[in-house]
Symmetry: none
Subunit: 268 residues, 4 copies
């Protein structure tokens, strides 16, 4: 299966403004890239790449005053297989976790493990450790939170969303991540493309998607509490502790987002 992925973001800047972008297909998917989704800017400005502490390739630019379009359009090969289900995946004891997974047990900007620990244990202590527990967390989050783009708020944390009961896909992910960590399961945030392949219409307008991975039985498994069914055609962009680590874009100065389009469709 081939998936066309891309975006067009248009900004107005009153003055020259530095930006960071965490965009572009993740290097672990590089071998699936048919046409690269290289970032283009209009007007054309120098792009400086760098690699963050999680291994994500990021980009820096200085946007000049005026209108700026960021765009990419790529073609990616995909297995066409849905997310893996591994019902028997075991939970590690904390003392057996690899050292480099421990950071994914700590609290982070949008995942206040300290605030949610009580609720997590109350809700999930009786569940069977491992896959079932993570699935129970996803089920709870899926059922407890009402989806709606009108609830999107950049400052919304897992604790906020738990209390408000509504949010967008990244909020679902943040709450489930926080719960997993509270239950001593390493969990990390993923941002990427996720289309409606195999999903009956009507389909919402596209956006970048947020899901998460939990570390069970020696590897990372994909979970998506927003959709809560195995999906086809995820294309990873970046991974981090939560959305604060992998901002799609981050602008260091005032600006207006004029237009925002994302696409991810099966290419025939």
């Amino acid at each position: 299966m081939k998936i066309r992925v891309g975006y067009e973001l248009i900004y107005d800047f009153p003055q020259p403004t530095p930006m960071i972008m965490v965009l572009g297909v993740h290097f672990t998917r590089a071998s699936d890239v048919i046409t690269p989704d290289h970032l283009t800017t209009t007007p054309s400005v120098p792009v400086t790449p760098y690699r963050d502490g999680f291994g994500n390739w990021c980009s820096r630019i200085v946007a000049p005053a005026g209108r700026m379009q960021l765009m990419a359009d790529g073609l990616v090969r995909d297995s066409g297989r849905p997310d893996i289900t591994a019902l028997s995946a075991k939970q590690h004891n904390v003392e057996d976790l690899p050292a480099d997974t421990l950071v994914y047990l700590l609290g982070s900007r949008y995942c206040e493990t300290d605030q949610l620990s009580g609720a997590a244990w109350k809700l999930f202590e009786k569940t069977k450790p491992g896959w079932e527990r993570v699935q129970a967390i996803c089920d709870f989050v899926h059922d407890h939170i009402t989806f709606g783009y009108e609830h999107a708020r950049s400052t919304m944390t897992a604790f906020d969303v738990f209390n408000a009961g509504k949010g967008v896909c990244r909020d679902f992910a943040h709450l489930a991540i926080a719960f997993c960590r509270c239950m001593n399961i390493p969990a990390r945030y993923c941002t990427g493309y996720l289309g409606d392949i195999g999903v009956p219409p009507p389909n919402a307008p596209m956006d970048f998607a947020g899901w998460f991975e939990a570390y069970l039985d020696g590897r990372w498994y994909t979970f998506d509490p927003r959709n809560n069914v195995p999906r086809i055609g995820r294309v990873l962009i970046a991974q981090g502790r939560d959305a604060a680590d992998v901002p799609i874009t981050l602008t260091f100065g005032p600006n207006t987002l004029v237009s925002f389009k994302v696409w991810t469709d099966e290419a025939l």
Copy 2:
């Protein structure tokens, strides 16, 4: 000058409990260690070290059920010189910052840059970029926040402390860090020992101290908005984005902290 540093933490655990500890003089101060502050546990259990993504050496144990004492006592050489003041240290433009400092511009668990950006610009936009701006931030935090151990709360964030107007040293640091990041100055959290050398009594009971570093003019400088005067005898333990990255201890299970002592005194 020689400084005696150490701690004794006593816990009661109802069941075997994994723990992470970010304790011990930072490896960059190894040259100054006269007597190492090795962690000892009573009862004796295996201590497994690991290195986190910031380079800090951390430790893991599984505490058995019952009472557990964690202790260390070391002797460290110190220059005896106060924190450096560099009034002419310039602020970098964002586009000129080294890539590995950019993570210290992002929001983190206790430093909600998104929540505080408006206040930061209102308060500090008129200040001169660079050292003066960071100092203005420290002055504001020092004056705005009332210190008091009774205000300590593990979930308290920079935004909380800004609103509450009271906190402990780590809260002072978190608020100043958040403001620095809002003003596009990379800032990172430091945990360590800081005694009352040169400070007239009465002195409070010792605790681990929290301060921060700001990246100006090509290097990291120490700032301490809690004390807000150059101090003598800081002994670094760990660095991270905020206190969530460098927990003194983190216990994965219920427990009671029975006793908590920290010392850091000039040794004659």
Copy 3:
């Protein structure tokens, strides 16, 4: 200005042969791409991209036995401005260099800093640190080395070229890089397209060009000791420590290069 860039490489392979290719306009120039220079192979075989440790997008194929043509033809926008001259760009002290530039001070396959350090200090110690020193290095290399395609040899190192006094553009670059590193100036190799825009005829047949960048005053500047004048129309393909890191092509098995054409011309 628009520049047409491309190549046609024809090989004969006696048996199926894996190949690595570091070809294609660098992703940081994606905004300038009007018509992408997609690699096409005849016969058509799967092309698998990957990303190397420097961020360059590379490609892998398995060439079948027989004749194989690799081709690309693209159109790229260019500022039409010559390479930047920054006479006042300062040299950093080694202790002030960003950590990610330090690797560009080390010796590498074609840049034996250990062999050339004595000569470098003798030749350039009296020059003014910074831009002037790098320019002095370029001037020396430009004057000391006789250009000639007949001198091209894939095993030729900076030390070889220093002794032989002749080479091709990549040899010029390697020697200048080695000298810069000996003088504690980070320097990295660049491969790309460079046409004869603004250069009076007669012009040599086109080839991929090699130049370098030196890290001065907080950024990377372009230097080209082969031509040693600011040029118009460089189109970067890849960056690395030296040419060993960014081989145009690398074949894992015997083969005959039947034909080799490169073009880079102003498009009207």
Copy 4:
């Protein structure tokens, strides 16, 4: 088994001199550390850590004019098991190698694959691909090269050592690495501690050891052409393409090495 590891290096510097050090037990062995081998400097100077592109933790200092001692002394747990032998480990086809191993097929400072390719194929084409081939390379190198500290020369490459027929452990490793790469087997250089545990006296004075790893059958295996028998008690310090990537120390200025001691002994 416990191994005491450490070193004492003493330098005289005529002027303040920046240094890079790649010393200290590798982070992948952190969990085996009983007493950390933290670097100490006398006189005490600030130590700045950074992480290189291979993940090794490195250190930077500025040594003041005069005498400088670098020292460490640590205790490390070890399995006590000899290097793994996996006679059936298969060689990957180049097209099946993971992308991040490809860099270890390229030439590097001390491993001139281009110069040695002819010899490699002549010598090893008839050997069975996989473990046997790497072992045949090690056997050849072990037999062909005469060991002797008097042959140590910092500029000596694999091609030099092949021609000279003598060298030290890093030269053995470089030649075997170059041959492996010529035969399309990814190979990387390792530096670390290796004592004489289980080796009958007389034993040579200790030094840091150089060995290498070859990528076979989906993982990296240890090979040591200098000793060419499975050994007990290796303690890895750093990995890279060759010794140029992982200099024990690198000084940016003139200096005299006054004393050099390394120890690695079984601790009882």
